[in-house]
Amino acid sequence: MTDIKTRIKTIIVEELNFEDLKPEEIPDDIPLFGDGLGLDSLDAVELVVQIQKHFGVKIQNMDEGRAAFRSINALEAFISERLNG
């Protein structure tokens, strides 16, 4: 089973259509929004749906989402906590 970080990166590339990127090119600590990867509000809600679909983890609202979406590291921590919690 692929690790959570790789799966998140694959979701970003495939589901958010970053066709010019390879999953392994996304650094673990890059901010996902703003000056980092450049995701926007529509990506944020899409990511909520994709995280639910792929991990069964529900992000209730954007206050929760904002913290989880800081970086790949943060999102992995959020998902792991929910899966193990």
């Binding site: 970053f18 066709e19 010019d20 450049g38 529509l42 990506d43 749906v49």
Partner: protein, 369 residues
């Protein structure tokens, strides 16, 4: 209310750009059925005519295009080409955008339903939902090209193009805009194709015969055609002038076709409509139908308008494909390139007993001509 047709951009199964369309017209092909490929996705099996939008990648960075679906790419590419064809005038906040579409972004519409049907309601995709809204192409055009003027999308099946032009001419007349990028886009999808063959029978990919009153020969297609229009006062050098746009219901006394105009029939391979055209256009009028080059789609009238523009510019009537006119009981269709300096009228008659009519003429007293 008149407007100058300054630039044309077209994307279809035939290729990309008005120059390509002109080549197809001069070569009398390829015709649309020869471009069709099998589509295994369609329930019941069908064909489709692929449209290549790769040229859009030369104009915008891939990151900017990442969320833009095929429907919007066709529209965006045709819109960019229309501006380029017009000599790349500066985009300002008095430029309007009007998009006509019969069906909207059908593939994304059904892809959104897929997300719900596959993952349940809580897995509905917001990206696909926002892309499925009819005005998505107009929105992408405004965002990527930086056009901040009025922005509108209209939808009335086969009359979408004429209704969009009605608004375009009004906006110019009111001074609401100083130029308007107006056009149409329609997308093929497996569901449409399936419905089509349920309604009209399986397509055998025989050549389209738009004037044949007895044979179903329409080939479902997709594509986009856009135009840059300027106010008549600009006296800019363009393809010609849009003299009038009318829509209405078929009556014994309507439509009233302009005297001595070449009539471009929007007939696209439906025998019912071929019979209607035959009834409302007298046999002795000069007429042509070019759907064999671009196929059957609600905004097909956009391609006729592009061809009307070329006809005015080249001062010649383009020939129809030979097989499309064989044994047709009308002797005024062009089978060879013929000189023409008169008006050109695009006529679309719909299955709902309504019509749309766009009349174009050459510019007079123009310093550029």
């Amino acid at each position: 209310m008149k407007a100058i047709l300054k630039g044309i951009g077209v994307v279809g199964g035939f290729g990309t750009g008005i120059q390509t369309l002109e080549k197809v017209l001069l070569n009398r092909g390829p015709t649309v059925e020869s471009l069709a490929v099998p589509d295994p996705q369609t329930l019941g099996g069908q064909f489709f005519v692929p449209v290549d939008t790769r040229q859009i990648q030369d104009r915008f960075p891939s990151r900017a295009l990442r969320r833009i679906d095929h429907f919007s790419r066709m529209a965006l590419l045709a819109a960019v080409l229309a501006l380029e064809d017009a000599g790349k005038p500066e985009v300002n906040d008095r430029m309007g955008v009007i998009v006509a579409t019969g069906y909207g972004a059908t593939r994304t519409t059904f892809a959104f339903l897929d997300s719900v049907l596959e993952g349940g309601d809580s897995c509905a995709s917001p990206t696909l939902f926002s892309g499925s809204v009819h005005n998505t192409a107009a929105a992408q055009i405004s965002m990527l090209m930086g056009i901040c003027g009025p922005n509108l999308t209209v939808s009335r099946f086969d009359l979408s193009i004429s209704e969009a032009l009605v608004v375009a001419l009004i906006w110019l007349a009111e001074g609401r805009v100083t130029s308007v990028l107006v056009g149409g886009v329609d997308e093929w999808c497996p569901v449409l194709s399936h419905c089509y063959h349920r309604f009209f029978g399986k397509n055998d990919l025989s050549p389209m015969r738009p004037l044949d009153p007895d044979r179903q020969s329409a080939v479902v297609a997709e594509g986009a055609a856009f135009f840059l229009l300027l106010p008549e006062e600009d006296r800019a050098d363009g393809y010609g002038v849009i003299e009038s746009v009318t829509t209405g219901c078929l009556r014994d006394d309507a439509p009233v076709l302009p005297e001595d105009a070449l009539i471009l029939l929007g007939a696209d391979g439906h025998p019912v409509s071929a019979r209607r055209y035959a009834r409302f256009v007298p046999k002795n009028r000069k007429m042509a139908a070019y759907a064999p080059y671009y196929g059957s789609l609600p905004i097909g009238m956009g391609f006729d308008m592009a061809i009307a523009g070329l006809t005015l510019r080249r001062k010649r009537i383009f020939p129809m494909p030979e097989i499309a006119v064989k044994d047709v009981p009308i002797d005024t269709v062009p089978t060879d390139s013929v000189a023409w300096t008169g008006k050109v009228c695009c006529l679309k008659i719909t299955p709902f007993d309504t019509y749309g009519m766009i009349t174009l003429a050459t510019q007079t007293g123009n310093p550029g001509n």
